[in-house]
């Protein structure tokens, strides 16, 4: 039993028919073109756009239709066109939490593959959301939740 056993992450990947430069550009500068803004935003006003500032230390935030701004998190690593690391300061109630210790992390890697790009995403740090004892129980139990969700994701 080590600490890494309690790190709970979501891993997803997709292969896109474009060069890594294009994929990185659309993921970041084109963020609002694909993110489901109407359902996934946290500001009080409807969201007009969401922005990832193109530099390490940059903000990740939404701008409402009324011009108001609401933070989501920060750019932790900006390495175009290969890697992007975001700190997502989100509480389980889907609100902004300024405490960096409570932020989850989203790492996106862009790797050339067969003339296109393999985009691998890892969203980690869910262990911060709950009771550590319960997490240890659920992840160490053979045939537990992790395995079942793996099967579920393959079935979808």
């Amino acid at each position: 039993m080590t600490d890494t056993d309690t790190a709970i992450a979501v891993r997803r990947s997709v292969t896109v028919n474009a060069a890594p430069e294009r994929a990185f550009e659309v993921f970041t500068a084109g963020f609002s073109t694909w993110w489901p803004l109407e359902t996934h935003h946290i500001g009080k006003a409807d969201a007009a756009e969401a922005i990832i500032e193109p530099r390490a230390g940059g903000r990740w935030f939404e701008r409402g239709v009324d011009g108001s701004e609401c933070d989501w998190g920060f750019v932790t690593a900006w390495e175009p066109p290969h890697r992007l690391l975001l700190a997502w300061h989100l509480t389980p109630e889907y609100e902004f939490d300024p405490d960096p210790a409570q932020a989850t992390e989203v790492e996106i890697r862009f790797t050339p593959k067969d003339g296109g790009t393999l985009v691998e995403l890892e969203h980690r740090g869910f262990e911060k959301y709950g009771d550590p004892e319960k997490i240890r129980e659920s992840v160490t139990q053979k045939g537990g939740w992790s395995d079942l969700l793996e099967m579920y994701s393959k079935a979808v």
Partner: protein
């Protein structure tokens, strides 16, 4: 934790329960409002909610005379399962955007 694990697969394998789960990801709702958005009866929604509750994915609480359902905020696996489906859809939309702009 045995029931938690054994119920998980069937809980999210059902398309209606998955729809309910995703809907609750946007905020707490009473049964009536959930039923209004879905092509199933209110008693059926209640039944699905019971399965999600038994699986530890959803909790309920009293809100005046109503009962509100929400994703289990203490449930790491609820969050993980939620983002698993969320990123799946978001990356599909991302792929569409990349390939549209590329053409």
């Amino acid at each position: 934790m045995a029931t938690y694990g054994s119920n998980g697969l069937s809980a999210l394998g059902d398309p209606t329960r998955r729809a309910i789960f995703e809907r609750l990801g946007r905020g707490p709702l009473p049964v009536g409002e959930l039923a209004r958005d879905l092509p199933v009866s209110r008693p059926a929604v209640s039944q699905h909610l019971k399965v999600l509750k038994d699986a530890g994915l959803v909790v309920d609480r009293a809100d005046g005379t109503r009962r509100l359902y929400q994703l289990n905020p203490a449930g790491i696996e609820a969050m993980r399962a939620y983002f698993d489906t969320f990123w799946n859809h978001a990356l599909a939309a991302f792929k569409d955007a990349v390939e549209k702009e590329d053409s």
